[in-house]
């Protein structure tokens, strides 16, 4: 019930293309869904996050789509650039119940120039 399943494990996209990473969760008490970006040799850093009261959140080229009934959320990277090549982690957490943040297994994105 505490798992967050992330797919795909790895993704190769042409420059200018759309990168899509999907995540699914089980615990309906989660109410905060962040995405973290990690470059090689660095720690993860928050990219964008969403609460379940909205179905979509956009920040620049990065968009989170959220489907509460399906318990799924996804990250879309529009106009993907070589500088976006990194590992992306979805996560789920909540304000109540002392929830720890549960991370997905990660997706390694490579954007070909």
């Amino acid at each position: 019930q505490q798992q967050v399943k992330q797919s795909p494990q790895s993704l190769i996209v042409q420059k200018g293309g759309i990168s899509i990473i999907n995540c699914a969760y089980e615990n309906t008490a989660f109410d905060y869904f962040p995405w973290y970006q990690q470059f090689p040799g660095k720690g993860p850093a928050l990219l964008i996050a969403i609460r379940p009261d909205v179905s979509e959140k956009k920040e620049g080229r990065f968009t989170i789509s959220f489907n509460k009934s399906a318990k799924q959320f996804s990250l879309h990277i529009m106009d993907s650039q070589p500088g976006d090549s990194a590992t992306y982690f979805c996560a789920a957490s909540g304000d109540t119940g002392g929830f720890k943040t549960i991370f997905g297994a990660g997706t390694r994105l490579f954007v070909k120039a």
Binding site: Y36, A49, F89
Partner: protein, 113 residues
């Protein structure tokens, strides 16, 4: 504002040796976390702390110990190192628990031979 700092960056241990991974944050965050990152496995929570003097186990605490004597510092102790503890270790901090951004350090890459 240095954020979260970790030392050392790299370390090789022999089986049975002990060591302490250091973590310091200068953001006055009450909440601090230790994660380990293994390839394809995401981030697993080892221990966390909700304030000075208060610590609790995460998902994978066996073989590790922590202490939190100050708000700033949260060292992780490995006793009797084993090859299964070969991993990259990340320290993180946040202002609130649960639905809040976590700030990660640069990581410590540990190899146990």
């Amino acid at each position: 504002n240095a954020g979260v700092t970790q030392t050392p960056k790299f370390r090789i241990l022999k089986i049975g040796q002990s060591m302490t991974l250091q973590c310091t944050q200068d953001m006055n965050h009450n909440y601090m976390y230790w994660y380990r990152q293994d390839p394809g496995m995401g981030l697993k929570l080892i221990y966390y702390s909700v304030g000075a003097g208060i610590t609790d186990k995460g998902e994978v605490p066996n073989g590790y110990n922590v202490s939190r004597s100050t708000t700033e510092d949260f060292p992780l102790r490995l006793e009797l190192a084993a090859p299964s503890q070969t991993s990259v270790y990340f320290c993180a901090s946040s202002y609130r628990q649960g639905a809040d951004e976590q700030f990660f350090g640069p990581g410590t890459r540990l190899t146990v031979l």
